[in-house]
């Protein structure tokens, strides 16, 4: 606790107040840039909470098999469009969570399936139950899942947020979709980063003709409405490509336009820095251009790039969701949040089966978390500013 107090105080701008002791002042003066940033970032409570949420999302993405309660492509057709099941926590006054087995009948008037709980058959629900077999990280074989029903022959799954048209568990599919939706942001941002730093760097460092050309390209890309363009390019992706190929193609299509924002940031920084004395000193000492760029200039605004990158990820996630939602991005059997939302595209589906919209919640929470985290990083990125 004491440790936290000491480190939290000087982080308010880097210049300690008069009243603080000499030891604390020394701590600030000798602290590295990254340490100052860390102190500053930690003060940002919302950003801290957001980072935990983001970390949680990636944890779910990595261990999706464990968090899912059933195999995402397993279709229990008898339970098509089953509404979310409620978990009963107490059985006869004792804590023993269970769900009722469900059986459906088609209503002759509306042709919709109506489900009634079978009050005789209680299926216990436990943590760390056995389910389908999988490999953790592709290595360790196991069949344990975070939670699920124990007697899968009576009730194959819990369906805590219902089932889709084919009777697949929406919750498990959402968990699996986290993998594609969250990683497409990372892969896309990586491509964006490479394009943004190299083109923005050339533009800012060399200036002149290259700068003019790259700036015009950026100006033009910014003024083109992206979605129609993406749709056009994405529709050219052959239908018989594998999931991985489509995934890469979509990522590249999105990144081709998204790099411009980062390119502008990098260019601005290079423009400002190339006149600095330390760059001139490096040049006069005979450092090569790549060395000047990567060893001297880049580290001085790496923090800004990290912040800009964090803020670019959510727009990637949204782009993929939008494309897949319209049916021109990833296609089934791939599962991403956008693919899942395809089921909620028309008014009938939304009105009758509103739980199909839950993946939207995951999108909004993930995007919000990334935005708050990026805001915090941006504030912390410049620890010497007051």
């Amino acid at each position: 606790m004491a440790e936290q107090n000491i480190s939290a105080q000087p982080s308010g701008g880097g210049i300690p107040a008069q009243s603080q002791s000499g030891a604390e002042e020394d701590r600030v003066f000798v602290a590295s840039q990254w340490k100052l940033m860390w102190w500053r970032f930690r003060k940002h409570r919302v950003a801290g909470a957001a980072s935990i949420v983001v970390a949680g999302f990636y944890l779910v993405a990595i261990f999706a098999e464990f968090f899912a309660s059933s195999y995402p492509r397993e279709a229990y057709t008898k339970l098509s469009y089953l509404e979310p099941q409620s978990i009963h926590w107490f059985d006869d006054g004792k804590f023993s969570p269970f769900v009722y087995a469900m059986s459906g009948k088609r209503d002759p008037a509306t042709m919709l399936k109506v489900y009634t709980p079978d009050l005789e058959t209680k299926v216990p629900v436990r943590l760390f139950v056995r389910g389908y077999e999988y490999k953790v990280l592709g290595i360790l074989k196991t069949d344990r899942h975070l939670f699920g029903p124990t007697e899968r022959d009576k009730m194959p799954d819990m369906f805590i947020i219902g089932a889709d048209q084919l009777g697949r568990d929406v919750y498990s599919r959402m968990v699996y979709a986290t993998r594609i939706s969250m990683s497409i942001g990372l892969v896309g941002v990586f491509i964006t980063l490479v394009l943004g730093i190299s083109l923005g760097g050339v533009s800012g460092y060399y200036g002149g003709f290259a700068d003019t050309v790259i700036q015009r390209i950026i100006e033009i890309s910014i003024s083109i409405p992206t979605i129609p363009l993406w749709l056009g390019l994405a529709s050219a992706v052959p239908k018989d490509w594998s999931i991985l190929k489509v995934y890469l193609a979509i990522t590249v299509i999105i990144s081709l336009i998204a790099w411009t924002g980062l390119g502008r940031v990098v260019r601005g920084k290079f423009l400002a820095l190339r006149e600095e004395e330390f760059v001139m000193a490096a040049r006069l000492s005979g450092a090569s251009t790549p060395r000047i760029i990567f060893r001297h200039m880049l580290p001085s605004f790496l923090s800004h790039i990290i912040a800009a990158t964090t803020l670019a990820i959510p727009s990637m996630i949204l782009s993929e969701t939008a494309l897949s939602f319209l049916g021109l991005g990833l296609r089934a059997p791939a599962v991403s949040w956008g693919v899942l939302l395809q089921g909620a595209q028309n008014i009938q589906a939304i009105a009758l089966f509103p739980w199909l919209m839950t993946p939207a919640l995951a999108v909004v929470v993930a995007v919000l978390a990334f935005n708050f985290m990026g805001d915090g990083l941006r504030d912390a990125a410049d620890p010497y500013a007051n």
């Binding site: 083109i224 129609p228 959510p314």
Partner: protein, 334 residues
């Protein structure tokens, strides 16, 4: 001023040219050339039988190839396509068997109208909220607007449209889709129809405008806060001007610049968003047609729409930049 105008116009033309190149590339992307797809669509590829006999097909194929010069180099083809576009010949829609212009004519007007309404609505909402948030900084109202703004920024338009669709259906039991009441859908244009359109327009406009409004409020609030701390505001207050006049007369005018300059990047986002929102809310704009033409591989139609949407955006951005120069005399030209 003249130099600036010329420079901006040239850049705008160059942008439209780039978009047209991209759109043309889109036509080339699917396997087989335009004539192959056209003939396949006419002979039905086994599905639509009896539309064209094989002998006629060869003739038609020849004619199509001749008309579009498909055997010539790509540059020549592009030139032919682009020059026909300039004089208003958008070609034939493969899917609907009508001239493209006939299919999308009305929809262009509605798309422009929707974009315009959204921009106006964005301003009308952002202006008072932005002023309030700046003048009453850190009040409860300010926090509420900030929070709602963040959610508005994070929620993609089409999700908002979906949620709105669901709420209107579940709570109010009416459907918000479309831009016209049933009796006006196919009616000729009249004052009553225009009024009906306005009544339907505000829902999609709100859906589309949310993220733009949220962004604008943030910018306006930050700018106004900067201005309010400047000495001339104190002077105005010391002279005994009423508070509303102090704010509206000077600092607001300075803080207003971003309102105009942000149209430049609100517009592309807005046109983009309108494509998806139109699909969800089934609005008769260019969006659903674009999507449909992409699914049916009606690439000529799709390319035309992409080019039109792009051109609209570029023109809108150009206008807003010129407006900015007029509003703010401090802007250096050149």
């Amino acid at each position: 001023m003249i130099t600036y105008l010329v420079r901006r116009t040239i850049l705008a033309f160059f942008t439209v040219f780039s978009i047209s190149v991209i759109a043309f590339t889109m036509i080339q992307l699917p396997a087989g050339d335009f004539a192959d797809i056209y003939i396949a669509s006419l002979t039905g590829g086994g599905q639509r039988t009896g539309m064209l006999s094989p002998e006629d097909a060869v003739e038609v194929e020849k004619a199509v190839r001749a008309k579009w010069g498909l055997d010539r180099p790509l540059v020549v083809q592009y030139w032919g396509w682009a020059s026909r576009m300039v004089v208003g010949d958008f070609g034939q829609s493969l899917d609907q068997r009508r001239p493209v212009i006939e299919v999308i004519g009305d929809r262009i007007v509605l798309t422009v109208a929707l974009a315009f309404t959204t921009v106006v609505l964005t301003w009308v909402m952002a202006l008072p909220i932005g002023i309030y948030s700046a003048v009453r900084q850190n009040s409860v109202g300010d926090y509420v607007f900030t929070f709602v703004g963040f959610i508005g920024l994070a929620t993609p338009d089409f999700l908002l449209a979906l949620i709105l669709l669901w709420i209107s259906f579940a709570v109010f039991d009416f459907s918000v889709g479309g831009l016209f009441s049933r009796q006006y859908v196919n009616a000729p244009w009249s004052m009553a129809k225009a009024w009906d359109l306005l009544q339907h327009m505000w829902i999609p406009a709100i859906v589309l405008g949310t993220s733009g409004t949220a962004g604008l409020i943030r910018v306006l609030r930050a700018n106004l806060l900067d201005e309010l701390r400047k000495p001339y505001v104190v002077t105005a207050r010391a002279k005994g001007l009423p508070e509303w006049k102090v704010i509206l007369k000077y600092p607001l005018r300075v803080a207003l610049n971003p309102m105009v300059s942000t149209i430049g990047y609100i517009l592309p986002a807005l046109v983009s968003g309108s494509v998806i929102v139109s699909v969800v809310l089934s609005l008769p704009t260019l969006g659903p047609i674009l999507l449909n033409s992409l699914f049916t591989q009606d690439m000529l139609m799709a390319a035309t729409i992409v080019l039109l949407l792009g051109t609209m955006t570029v023109v809108g951005t150009l206008l807003s930049d010129l407006l900015l120069v007029i509003v703010d005399p401090r802007i250096k030209l050149g």
